[in-house]
C-alpha cells in the first residue's frame, strides 16, 4: 500500500543553520504518528516541506504517493495541515473563513461538513463571530476546522494543543482519534509527552535536524530504559546487590535493573540473605524520561 507520507533524505538549510539533515522515514496509512523534539529541532520545518510551504534543498517528500514538488496540487489535496502559529483573517467570521477555505480546495456546498466540524470543535455558537473576537483557543479550533474542510486523508497537526485548555484538549483528541479510527492518518507534534504516549502508535524524535529515533512507541519504551525498583528492607542491603543501587530515598533503596526479568534475581538474593522485604515498587519509565535521556545524548 502507498505510504501516507514518505520522506526521503530531506535536507534544508537556513544560511549556516542545518535545519533538516537528511531526514528519512515513512508513515503508513492509518497510523497515529508523533514527531517529537525540543524547540528548534526542525519539526515545523519538516511539516512546511510536507505542505509545500517551503522547498527542501534536497530530497523528496510524497503524500499519498504524490510528490510535493512535481505533483504539488494532488499532494496538497490529500493533506490537511494545522500550522503552529496562531493565524487568522480578521476580516471574516468563522463560517466565512471555513466557506472560503473549502472554496480554495475547489469545494462548493460544503455546509453539512462545515456544520459538523463546528459542532465537533465546539464552535457552533461562534459560527457568526468575527475571527478577531475569538479567544486564542477558539482561533486554534478554527484552524483545526480549516485544515479539515477538504476531508484530507492525511492530517498534520503542529502543536495543536498549545494554549488550549484541558477540556478542549480532551475533546480535540477525542475528535482526532475518531478521525484516525475512520481511517485518516494523523501526524502530530506536541510538547506534552503524555499526549504522544497515550495517543500515538509510532514516534519519531528529531534533534538539530537529525532523526534520532523512529520506533514503535512500546518498543521505544521497552528497550529504552532500564527500570528502577524501590525497596524498603527490614535489614541492610546485601553486599551482592550493592552494585545495582543507584541511590537511596526515604529509607528506600533504589536499584536499577537492565531488564525487568532481573527482578527474580534480586528477590532470590534477598531470600538467601534472609532480608525481609517491607515494600517493593517498580517504576515504569515514561516517554518523558526516554525523551530527556535521548536529548541529552543518551542512546536508546
Amino acid at each position: 500500500m502507498t505510504h501516507a507520507i514518505s520522506i526521503e533524505s530531506v535536507s534544508k538549510r537556513f544560511g549556516s543553520l542545518q535545519a533538516l539533515d537528511s531526514v528519512s522515514f515513512t508513515v503508513a496509512q492509518g497510523e497515529f504518528f508523533a514527531l517529537l523534539g525540543p524547540n528548534g529541532a526542525g519539526k515545523t520545518t519538516l511539516i512546511s516541506a510536507m505542505a509545500g510551504l517551503s522547498r527542501p534543498d534536497s530530497g523528496h517528500i510524497r503524500i499519498m504517493g504524490h510528490d510535493t514538488v512535481t505533483s504539488a496540487r494532488q499532494a496538497r489535496m490529500t493533506l490537511g495541515v494545522v500550522p503552529q502559529e496562531l493565524v487568522f483573517d480578521p476580516f471574516f467570521s468563522v463560517r466565512e473563513a471555513l466557506v472560503f477555505q473549502s472554496g480554495y480546495f475547489g469545494i462548493r456546498h460544503n455546509d453539512a461538513w462545515i456544520d459538523e466540524l463546528l459542532h465537533k470543535l465546539g464552535l457552533t455558537d461562534k459560527a457568526g463571530t468575527n475571527m478577531r473576537a475569538l479567544s486564542g483557543g477558539m482561533k486554534r479550533r478554527v484552524m483545526v476546522a480549516q485544515a479539515l474542510v477538504h476531508r484530507p486523508p492525511v492530517i498534520v497537526l503542529d502543536e495543536p494543543t498549545a494554549g488550549v485548555d484541558v477540556e478542549l484538549r480532551q475533546s480535540l483528541w477525542a475528535f482526532v482519534q475518531e478521525l484516525n479510527q475512520a481511517g485518516h492518518t494523523i501526524v502530530l507534534t506536541t510538547h506534552y509527552l503524555e499526549e504522544a504516549e497515550t495517543l500515538c502508535s509510532r514516534i519519531a524524535m528529531l534533534k538539530k535536524g537529525k532523526l534520532l529515533a523512529l520506533e514503535n512507541k512500546d518498543k521505544l519504551l521497552a528497550h529504552s530504559a532500564t527500570r528502577e525498583i524501590s525497596l524498603k528492607l527490614a535489614a541492610a542491603l546485601p553486599a551482592s546487590l550493592q552494585p545495582l543501587k543507584v541511590r537511596e530515598a526515604d529509607g528506600r533503596h533504589i536499584l536499577q535493573l537492565a531488564d525487568i526479568a532481573r527482578l527474580e534475581d534480586v528477590l532470590r538474593e534477598l531470600r538467601l540473605a534472609a532480608v525481609e522485604v517491607r515494600e517493593l515498587s517498580i517504576h515504569e519509565t515514561d516517554l518523558e524520561q526516554v525523551f530527556v535521556k535521548m536529548m541529552h545524548g543518551g542512546r536508546v
Binding site: 522547498r55 489535496m77 495541515v81 483573517d89
Partner: protein, 251 residues
C-alpha cells in the same frame, strides 16, 4: 476555477467591508483636488482647444485614483496576509499561480473601477462633456487598473514590511502618477520634460483615457494602447513567474 472565484470573492469582500476607507476616502481626496486645482488654474490654462482646464482635469483625476487604488488593493492585501501569516491559508490549498494572480488582479481592477466611477460621479458636474469614445474609456480604465493592480501584486510579494511597501508607493507609484500629465498637458512642458514624460507608462494610460472623453490627446490612442497593453503583458508575466516560483512566498 472555483478556487479562483472564491479568492476573487474574498478579495472583493475584503475591501468592500471597509468601503468607507477604501472607496469613500479616495473619492473625497479626488474631489478636493478637483475643487482646489480647478479654482486656482481655471482662469489660466486651456489644455486643448475648446476644453476647459476644469474639464481636462477630470479624466486625469479619475485615472490617477483608479491607478492608486488598484495598486493599493493588491499590494496591501498581500502584505497584510504575509505579515499576519494568514497567507498560509492560500498556500496550503492547490490554487494555481494563474488562479492566485487572476483573483488578486481582478479584485484590484474592480476596486479601481468602483473608485473611478465614484470620482467620476462627484467631479463630472464640474463640466465634463459627454464622452466621445466610451470604448476607449473602458479599455484604458480596465488596462490601467490592470497594470497597477499587477504592480501591486509584485510589490506585495516583494515587500517584507509595510515601510518597504510605503517606499514603493511614495518613490515609484506617486512620482509616476503625478508626473504623467494628470494636472497638465504634456505639450505645455519644455522639450526635455516632454521626452521624459513619454517614458512613463502612466502618461499613456491617462492620455488614452482622456482621448476617450475629448477625442483628442497628446499622442494617438493606439500608441497608448500598445504601451499600456505591452506594460500589462510584461508585468503580468513577471508576476505569474514570481508566484509560480514561490518567490518570497514559499521559501
Amino acid at each position: 476555477m472555483h478556487g479562483f472565484m472564491t479568492l476573487f470573492k474574498k478579495e472583493i469582500l475584503r475591501f468592500w467591508k471597509v468601503a468607507f476607507q477604501t472607496v469613500m476616502a479616495p473619492v473625497l481626496t479626488a474631489l478636493l483636488y478637483q475643487l482646489i486645482f480647478s479654482h486656482v488654474l481655471s482662469q489660466h490654462v486651456e489644455a486643448y482647444p475648446g476644453v476647459s482646464y476644469t474639464a481636462f482635469l477630470i479624466p486625469g483625476l479619475v485615472m490617477m485614483s483608479m491607478a492608486q487604488n488598484a495598486f493599493a488593493n493588491s499590494s496591501s492585501s498581500l502584505i497584510q496576509s504575509k505579515i499576519t501569516g494568514n497567507i498560509v491559508f492560500l498556500l496550503l490549498p492547490p490554487l494555481t499561480a494563474l488562479e492566485f494572480f487572476g483573483a488578486y488582479l481582478l479584485a484590484a481592477i474592480v476596486r479601481g473601477l468602483v473608485v473611478g466611477a465614484g470620482v467620476l460621479a462627484v467631479t463630472a458636474w464640474f463640466g465634463l462633456p459627454l464622452p466621445s469614445h466610451p470604448l476607449w474609456i473602458l479599455a484604458f480604465a480596465a488596462l490601467g487598473c490592470g497594470v497597477l493592480g499587477t504592480l501591486g501584486i509584485v510589490a506585495g510579494i516583494w515587500a517584507d514590511k509595510f515601510d518597504q511597501l510605503a517606499a514603493f508607493q511614495n518613490f515609484i507609484i506617486m512620482p509616476l502618477t503625478f508626473l504623467s500629465g494628470v494636472f497638465y498637458s504634456i505639450n505645455s512642458l519644455p522639450p526635455l520634460w516632454k521626452t521624459v514624460s513619454h517614458l512613463n507608462p502612466v502618461f499613456y494610460m491617462i492620455d488614452g483615457f482622456r482621448y476617450g472623453f475629448f477625442g483628442q490627446g497628446d499622442v494617438s490612442p493606439w500608441l497608448s494602447l500598445a504601451v499600456v497593453g505591452g506594460s500589462f503583458a510584461a508585468l503580468a508575466s513577471w508576476s505569474l513567474y514570481l508566484i509560480g516560483s514561490g518567490y518570497k512566498l514559499r521559501q
